[in-house]
Symmetry: C2
Subunit: 510 residues, 2 copies
């Protein structure tokens, strides 16, 4: 059995010259080779095989596509942008190509489907393989679905959280209390973080906030913040910003805090699915890796919010607090009204406009968003020991009103790389009321869907601007909201959806 | 809201000129466009978006990759081979490109994950969208995993079976009794179909057999048969073969009998997973669509077979028979010994060699495979009313012994397009016993894995040849089996696996 290596397969795979093909496949590394080349023939490679590509210390697992004409020579491999940049190549370099090792950890996923519990060790091996890029979309989707259909139990959530922390980087801070805040999404426009961080930092507390991009929503905090300042900071830069200003609002994905989460989020987004256990592990792995010690969880509850009932909120809160506690994090959940959107704008730049209006204390700034930010900042101030129970909110409000929060926000943006003006949409169309009457409801999910069809979050200026709240009296033809887009096709796509969904904003005759 | 169409998006999408890029992406249709072209900019398309491509009456949903150099001009789209052939294009043709409709049926998959039952209507809409190519790998994998983690109930299996039949073509025959046979796989080498069909057809009964390719095994019947005759026949050709010869062994996938099944099988293979409900729907949708009236189910039972215990066999049998009955098919399950592989060869061509040896009545032909084929043919003869209970097997054996089955097999192969000689491997290596003693067990799963690593079923000549059976006395250094491959890399890959898995064939000292 030991003679296997004697057949002339190179020990570390076949070496071939590489070329940059100039093809953007986003996250997915792709390698193009000639179907009749020596490597494909001798290894039996066929299209859609997953191959291990190595260049020096770096490696990546790439999907193979095969070319049947002279686009690719027989002695070269052409790489997509994602594969090219991850291997840090130059034209004419060589790489080693081989079969990846068999995906042993997939047996844990299969076991989970059939009802076995996932041990800490199994979760670590699945998570490591995910971060190594060994899981295809098929494997990732199966893992996520299996953990949603048979919910993860407490031990599994702990194990998954631990594994997600372990396979990434960790931050640590020279502060006894490191505050953090997370919003259990689902409420369009609920963009409180860029308001809270400068309030907290202005008061001398430490709040190094790493945020995510949108999962299933039209904008994540990182997407919104990015329209005002750079958010993809390296670890050293984050330390510099936080040491100088006491706070930051950066994208967690840029710094490999719980990198498995970023991979899983893409799949959850495609499925429009997040399960409770995954959500807890996702939220807390980021917080643990970020070095947080105290955490406020903003949880809007409402029929069309992510958390639909008080019972669901209680169950999720208990799960979050128990897992946080196991990792030494003091967590508190602040439930809120999730029956309608908060603020006016929905979409990265449109939400940034709301944030700036509140920080700059314009009289026209959306009151509900300001109130929510003040309440959450107040809870953080109390958790951080700067005010007694019941006194935090007033302290937060003063910090906003006297301009300290706005000044701090500008300094944070400058420290992160320079303040920017959010982009403005090039295509707009109002959605008019079809009758005179009263606004009785706004469907959070459909509003979010509309904003996404208009291009958010990829198109930063896209989304929508709400002109009414439930209870408002409106006349026929009056604009209920305005859809913003960066491309005509996307505007049309959103308006098509609005045309067949009259209950996005429901108006009843009196 | 009605003004949406007035923004200048063409009613049916953007028309662009197409070019054949010569890239083989297998089943996945891919469209390459320039990142800065007018269509991508105006529609907001980004890489990995799924786009609807239309050409005349034909359409396909393709994955977008974007090119950033002059590989693709701004006014053209380049297509992968799969997209090109499905749209039946010529160079210079134009196609219309647009966003596909939102994937509404995915809400049924999400509901299923959260515990809702799938109605007939929901299953039909999911299945239709799958066949239309609207489900990405992420969506397909989630659907399959959801149906495995919370098993489908009887009504759901009926609904899925019905939906899978409905979205494909159906065959009908001028015969009152149309016999069929299915093996609930998992037993390497159990290739009885090409032996059974000529026996049955030689006796004047009708057996139009549509077989599948391998799901998780090293060879499906279609893979094996293809090494002896063409199997991808059109419906008219199948009718011609069966009318002339009374039987055929063709690939069901070539004729859109339950086309959803072929798509799901690819995902199940990647996950190495088939759940009971999916398996029942998969098996029976093919049989219903094939117009079968009487069905024998071969079910090997053993610790390392697909069905591991008598209890599991009973449950699966009950499910299969109940669903078959609901569709008017008389089904009978024949359990068998699944503790060890059957026959000698494992892999398409190696199994074909066993089949030919039995049909040609060589004394050296594997006895266990012949016995199993005779038993199943006997059960079919009885089910078809040609022999009384207990007399079928003897009739089947006579048909083999006097050469009628072999003569019929040759005529069937000729009618299918001409008999072929199975290919022979170019690379081989024996696996030698590490001690003197007795063979105590052969692990079906590991044997199958070994054959797959050697290249089966894609490499037709790859797989392995067993030289021993459990109970055999062997000496140290004696070959237990020989691994066959078509490529050196694959041979090495298989031998690496064998080196770290000493229990593929276990030999104990006496």
């Amino acid at each position: 059995m030991s003679g296997a290596r004697q057949v002339d397969r190179p020990q570390d795979g076949h070496r071939v010259r590489v070329r940059r093909l100039g093809v953007d496949t986003q996250f997915e590394p792709v390698v193009f080779m000639h179907k009749e080349c020596a490597v494909c023939r001798s290894e039996g490679f066929v299209a859609h095989n997953r191959l291990l590509l190595r260049a020096g210390e770096r490696h990546v697992i790439a999907t193979l596509y095969q070319v049947t004409n002279d686009l690719i020579a027989h002695d070269e491999a052409a790489l997509s942008e994602s594969a090219w940049s991850r291997l840090e190549l130059n034209d004419g370099d060589t790489i080693a190509i081989s079969h990846p090792d068999p995906l042993i950890s997939l047996s844990h996923v299969r076991g989970r489907i059939y009802g076995n519990e996932l041990s800490d060790r199994a979760l670590l091996s699945v998570t490591s393989d995910i971060v190594e890029g060994k899981y295809s979309d098929i494997h990732l989707s199966s893992f996520i679905t299996a953990c949603a259909a048979r919910p993860l139990d407490h031990d599994e959530v702990l194990g998954l959280t631990k594994a997600m922390v372990e396979v990434g980087d960790r931050l640590s801070w020279n502060a006894e209390v490191v505050l953090d805040k997370h919003s259990v999404g689902g409420l369009p426009g609920n963009r409180t973080t860029p308001i809270i961080v400068p309030i907290i930092a202005a008061l001398g507390l430490t709040m190094p906030k790493t945020s995510s991009r949108a999962i299933t929503s039209p904008a994540g905090t990182a997407d919104t913040m990015e329209t005002m300042a750079p958010v993809d900071l390296a670890i050293a830069d984050i330390h510099r910003v936080v040491e100088g200003e006491g706070g930051c609002v950066v994208w967690g994905g840029a710094i490999r805090l719980s990198p498995a989460d970023d991979i899983l989020i893409r799949i959850e987004r495609a499925l429009d699915l997040d399960s409770e256990g995954q959500m807890i592990a996702s939220v807390l792995s980021k917080k643990i890796a970020a070095g947080s010690t105290h955490l406020i969880l903003d949880m809007p509850v409402g029929r069309t919010a992510k958390v639909r009932s008080r019972e669901a909120a209680d169950a999720l809160s208990a799960g979050l607090i128990a897992v946080a506690d196991a990792f030494g994090i003091k967590a508190k959940v602040i439930p809120g009204d999730g029956t309608e959107p908060i603020g006016r704008g929905i979409g990265p730049a449109l939400e940034a406009h709301d944030v700036l209006a509140i920080l700059q204390c314009w009289p026209s700034a959306p009151r509900d968003l300001r109130d929510r930010a003040v309440a959450l900042a107040g809870a953080l101030i109390e958790l951080g020991g700067l005010a007694e129970h019941g006194r935090g909110a007033a302290m937060a409000a003063r910090t906003l009103d006297d301009g300290r929060a706005w000044a701090k926000f500008q300094r944070i943006c400058e420290a992160q790389g320079g303040m920017r003006t959010p982009p403005v949409s090039s295509h707009r169309q109002p959605l008019a009321s079809v009758r005179t009457g009263r606004v009785v409801s706004i469907d959070n999910r459909k509003i979010a869907k509309l904003a996404k069809l208009a291009g958010a979050p990829e198109a930063k200026a896209a989304g929508l601007e709400l002109h009414v709240k439930p209870g408002a009296a409106v006349s026929i033809g009056q604009p209920l909201c305005t859809v913003h887009a960066e491309a005509r096709g996307e505007l049309a796509y959103a308006m098509d959806y609005a045309a067949v969904n009259p209950d996005i904003i429901t108006v009843q005759e009196r």
